[in-house]
Symmetry: D3
Subunit: 178 residues, 6 copies
């Protein structure tokens, strides 16, 4: 049985963690190539979206390289938000090369791509109870060192090298101007 040509995975990757890595590896066992769309690409420097699209690309790229995944197997594409949910599928489809199947467990993503006629398959999570970007950001804010073990080593090093942990703590601090 031959693999479908290309799969699409959409995520925010704030930050890219070990669960995300397992999802990509799992998808690459099911399709020949994966397009990783980095959503909310225009967002950065906020509690929910601390890292720029470029920084998230760097995280993923370094990790996949370290995992010795062939760079010809994946494409990393930043995708900004649009106002209208139904425009969003066209927006994504415009920005990225042709794909054959969308991988998502997110109900909105599933319904939007389904209504637009795309095949959607579920993501098989690896230890979901363990890997959560929200929890990781909270641990960074709280100064709980354990966050470094929840992301690939390259991601932890990169975040520290750009002082991303300090940035996140700064934007999480209570706003004092009024």
């Amino acid at each position: 049985m031959s693999l479908a040509r290309r799969g699409l995975l959409v995520g925010r990757f704030q930050p890219f963690h070990k669960g995300h890595l397992h999802v990509i590896q799992d998808i690459l066992a099911r399709v020949e190539e994966i397009i990783v769309a980095i959503g909310s690409a225009q967002c950065s420097h906020s509690i929910d979206d601390p890292f720029t699209a470029g920084e998230r690309i760097e995280m993923i790229r370094r990790t996949l390289a370290s995992e010795q995944i062939d760079a010809s197997k994946y494409l990393l594409i930043p995708v900004t938000d649009v106002n209208d949910n139904r425009l969003w599928v066209s927006h994504v489809v415009t920005l990225i090369p042709h794909f054959d199947v969308v991988f998502s467990n997110k109900p909105l993503v599933k319904i939007l791509f389904s209504e637009a006629g795309h095949e959607v398959q579920p993501i098989r999570f690896y230890h979901r109870e363990l890997y959560s970007a929200t929890d990781i950001r909270q641990k960074i804010i709280d100064g709980v060192e354990e966050w470094k073990g929840l992301v690939p080593k390259e991601v932890a090093e990169f975040i520290i090298s750009i002082k991303g942990d300090e940035r996140l703590r700064a934007v999480a601090a209570t706003d004092v101007v009024n």
Copy 2:
């Protein structure tokens, strides 16, 4: 006494319910024609705004046709949101034909149109305790069949025909990608 020429009613109609229908009927007893501006027209596929502007137009149009309201008496115009509240009146006024009076009980709408020099009259609600779009959406999400009795028959049939109830339940499901 002659009627004012045209009234304007602004709403989101997510979905169009029996209370809305009574409001339109009541306004049509007070003015010759009504412009129904379908607000937040760019929104869809969310818990608060599940239906597209086109779908909401369809709901209203089918209902008013079934009620045998002369189609020359009303205009259904989608109006997207704008960022600035004070631009909003100009935006609405640009998109729709001339009107003589705005019908609204919404404080923001009232103050914005009043500050721009428009006459604003209150809406006379019919059984407000009964008809609430928020409640209807919640009933759809919860699978409480009673919602079908709160909207005109044409609306219930239309929502089911486009699987709008399934869509709303889907977007209401907890987001599981992180």
Copy 3:
């Protein structure tokens, strides 16, 4: 043989002229209902787009009423421009109710709707050499009274009532601030 349910006609209607009226009449002989999308709805007060969407709706509505075309047969929907051509089809489809066939001779409109899987049929023009919105705007600018014969009587009267001819001449005047 039954008619297709709904046709879509997209135009700017700057202004609505007799050729446009014939196109609508012709389409209404081929489909049950027509959605007239008034494009570039955000544009007004320029040489190419002198009239607001609301004013264009008024022109069309008065003309079709005068022609005794049943108001339940048509929908007039303003559609603003979007930046990306490929998003445009989704944008239009979001704003208007379901339609079965697009009527257009405009190559870009034809290819965009075709690529998105919609049926496109050609418009049968009536005296195209005679009716051109560009020519009509030029005649208004030049003060050539003949323009009034090229648009429906209701349109000529409406344009004059809102001083639309003066507006067009004003915006066409050479800009003298630098």
Copy 4:
């Protein structure tokens, strides 16, 4: 020791209160000129942002004139929001003249300007526990007259002259259309 040429203060000033006035006076003791950037300039007529940028400029201008601060010492510039935090610094820098130092206690503002290479100095607040725009807005909504003592006399008079207190109470009223 000569003063730095220009300082930048960014705030929303909803409304401009006595604490803001002290901050400006304090900064003017440290730099030759101050640029006051009026943020979220596109916002108005909401609970958090009741006043337009123009109204906020008027408040500040009248107060500083009354305080006999030389008008050549300050510039009042409205700055609209942008979607991307990192674009925001470029956006501000594009709209205003050159400045040498940013005054802010707001963590996001501090980190964004710092990452872009600007010097940031803290604001020395005057009776912060007393002067809070959020509290003042709440007092206006609740009809607690004491708010007038928390803003400069010129601001209180101006707000009342434009019926800004009524506007704020109106937009704070529960939305009754659904």
Copy 5:
């Protein structure tokens, strides 16, 4: 006879030249205060709009200071473009304090403000044949030194200090990437 309180002048000031200065001086003889709205504020680094809004503010401010015009007599406000001409008046009015009369010879500006109910008065130009921003930009591009005599001394010095003449020549160079 007392002067009207505030006049509004809208221009792009690319760059601010001696003709503009005379216009401001002339308006200040007719009203107590002038709001100078710096239009197309988001534009810069192009042949028609080489300077940022901030740079244009600097030009005007330095010139008016040098002319010993009291800084309390004028306000310099950057105003970005909006897509819709009819929204533009609301956009301007939102960003700036109240004004009583608009000064303009530009037909579009005149008709937009007039339609919105504002008083518009003509600008009395001083040697229009001499002072043209378009000509000045062309002279800068062509390296014709005479441009320095057409703008106030402070403007010439400022442009040179920011290498604005080099920038304009650079953006005017034929684009060689394809």
Copy 6:
């Protein structure tokens, strides 16, 4: 001597031609990695910008794969336009990973990146008189088969497979609706 880590090349690639390929190869001889930013990413289906960002990524990716350039050496990132030239650099920098040098001969790109403090180096073109995207688009429109020799074989095949040549001819056809 070690190579700079990453170079940035910005282009529209409408379509990607042999000259572009040589530029990339030349840059890869000077830096370790290249980020190819695909500009005007939101544009498609027009005479100047016939192909979507996704299609352009596909063209480049297939060509570089065929040329056996290691996929770990390049990143292909779509970049949409922004309104303000000076925001544009921040916008690009936000969307892509860190880079050390920009390669460009385009005066605007050079001055914008230079003013923002980036190193800019010239592109060494290969047979510029031969390879021009504008000429290639014109040849496609005119049905001159020679265009296929000016682009890499993979690009010619891809364009034909998506009927891109037909699309370009269609959008180039005179617009007949008015």
